[in-house]
Symmetry: D2
Subunit: 247 residues, 4 copies
């Protein structure tokens, strides 16, 4: 499998280059950066192109790569419904009928699985809360991943007609954190950490903890490689790494 | 739902009595102990009988209850293939065609889910180890639950053709614990703990932790009540609480 | 050592009775409850009286026991500066010159040590946050213990002239929890838990976690017995179990 | 403070160079590697020299630097009593009377504090076990740090005349791990981890956990900088970072 990397000199891109070079079943094709011509990437040299650039240019990159006839794996953030619609439209008019684009907001397998497991487990417990912890340079709180997990928990509990979670706390105490879709979410900011999420579930006499630790960018590489291997089997647009895991 | 408890004065049985009394959709029918006549329990007074007695008598109890025509939920341990075969045979000749018996080695929902999640996650990680921790009065090590989880992990990895786990440790160091089906299992014995299991999974730059804490016998009650509610929908013999969860 | 228990039928008192009976170096003297005459307790039958009653009566109990000439260990809450002053005054006029009273807000050794360790460690780390977790019937949040630990951390950092903790979070996000004396404090409420505290400390590439888990009231008994053994060596009024540990 | 780095191009040395450059109160003096002349380092250009080289050459480096009249901080491993004696002798004949050498087997403040706290806490608990976890390329198990902590716990318990730890495990089960000075030590090897240690302490109804996580080499830098700042205040040979913390 020949993999080209778009944004190859970026923080994530350089990790992808190294990961592709280390993978026995992959071959590093082209390394493309903002000053390079993206139309070099073509079926002659590339099976899958990986885009880790910036929100401003990623849509144009993907549209160009579709026209070039190669499959695309995208890790750049900033996608919305409108942009996704443009990708779907471009795919409908793509050179190959089975052409595929895959976009994921989070490539860490542990984080994707934690979210999935939280949804399965939540209806079986009376209580559920989410604690996320990140490096102190992070601007937003709580993390998008924690917000997603809170919605996953809430939706699973609604579908199962769960009773409201017990909480005798008097007043709206700030220590109880944010409440996202009925689920308490706490955000820790600590020097030395990177990106971590813990889901706590409780029943009488019993606790379940599901935890994901992403210590550095290397944590995204198994998910990126997995996406490169699987994207060809899923023509059209796919969003979310959970779609490529056998869940 | 009318629930009778066999072994009602035992350590687990007394918890079941309390849990049934507290459940809004249940009614405590008979409390039976070793000096009582088990044939009091019948469809006139009981929908489900729960047996928490001792390995020596539980088979006879179950066979009697089948003849009496009531469904049975069993938490007593010590079952083997021969005993299970006798239960199946008795069910084939039971008064009611849809009669049901349910037997579980572990009623803690967190432990059952942890084992299930470990099986799903294991193929996606390079490394997996199990740490179980119990009170220091426990005679055996590692726990049956940890051994079961090690097999679950090993089987999932075999089916996915995973590479062997990395481990450069020189020699057979005792600190590396037991190796069950290729999975390292560690057992901690600590005053104050009850029954705990932690599954650690690792990839480059990434860790996933799945943890179950059973602080006391109350932790088994949600599983027992769930089994009472579900057993009637599963005629015949069912083994393992995972069968009654929507997994 | 002869120990009498005041409030012997209460939730904590009954645990103290059992713990004293199980201690090889102790003898259970009198069990006193609200309907009993407290002046039965005297040096003829008692070396130490333990009071686990209610805030409304504990001051009167202690003043009476001082007059009776016995040492006192108090676990009842609700003390303030005025009440403590009355105890000191009574001790000054006590029958014995070396008479001793010990009052502790928390008898869990792990909680007392966690607070002490947090104070030592805090100046060596850039970041520190506190997460406490309790059963969902608790009315207040955060716990008094977590508030105390936040102050311990803040004071230690002030004395060491530490720089402010790094935190780039934009705005006053509720997920960041309460801020007690400059330290972020998070409160989890989860069915199945009892009383837990975790202190997280972070430096570049490094994290330290100090954690106390009190699973049930038994967790207070080692501290109560320790206090009974030590109170006689500390004439006058002593407040806080840390005073009796060799720290 | 002018700091020279010996072994500046090595894995640790290059981190020290970066850390010194980033420290406001420090100035990077010389960067010396194996092909460079170590006698360039002198009081004219250097207040403290930091040696992160290899066991074979570190003793010679330190002896040379003592003769040169500069203070030395050493992070290279492989020291024994004989080598330490040679350092002491050289210091006795050093150009400056107040000359100082500091050697530490572990510069991670969290690991040093964890060991120290374990020694304080151990006598107050019935049970204590150590779990260390490292990357799977590590050759030895258990880690030197975990062995040190086991000895710290054992010695503290001996001094306090503690009863043996409770453990009903029948037979010498491998899952119970290694037994170092009477303390059970478990070693986990997991891809994605770096160097982690957890000390578990248990009493009836209560657990205490002290944990150190070193995610990468950056975790040693606060300890190295601390040693550079403190070494001048401690003439002679000092071993162990705990000597420079206000414990």
């Amino acid at each position: 499998m020949r993999v080209s990397v778009v944004g190859a000199q970026g923080r994530m891109g350089s990790h992808v280059v190294a990961a592709v070079e280390a993978a026995e079943d992959m071959q590093l094709a082209l390394q493309v950066d903002s000053s390079d011509d993206l139309t070099q990437v073509s079926p002659e040299n590339t099976d899958v192109a990986v885009d880790f650039t910036v929100p401003d240019v990623t849509l144009d990159n993907v549209l160009t790569l579709i026209k070039q006839g190669v499959n695309v794996v995208v890790g750049t953030t900033g996608w919305n419904d409108d942009k996704l619609a443009q990708v779907r439209e471009a795919l409908a008019q793509a050179p190959r009928k089975d052409q595929a684009v895959f976009i994921a907001p989070n490539f860490a397998i542990s984080a994707v699985l934690a979210d999935y497991f939280a949804g399965i487990a939540a209806p079986y417990f009376e209580s559920a809360e989410v604690i996320e912890a990140h490096h102190p340079n992070k601007l937003d709180a709580p993390s998008g991943t924690a917000v997603h997990t809170a919605h996953t928990i809430a939706q699973a509990r609604r579908q199962a007609d769960c009773a409201p979670m017990p909480d005798a706390t008097v007043g709206n105490e700030p220590s109880r954190g944010d409440v996202v879709d009925g689920v308490h979410v706490h955000a820790v900011r600590l020097r030395g950490l990177n990106a971590h999420e813990e889901i706590l579930l409780g029943n009488p006499g019993e606790q379940m903890i599901i935890r994901s630790d992403c210590f550095d960018r290397a944590s995204f590489m198994p998910g990126v490689l997995l996406a490169c291997r699987k994207v060809g089997e899923h023509p059209g647009l796919t969003v979310g790494l959970d779609q490529f895991l056998d869940l």
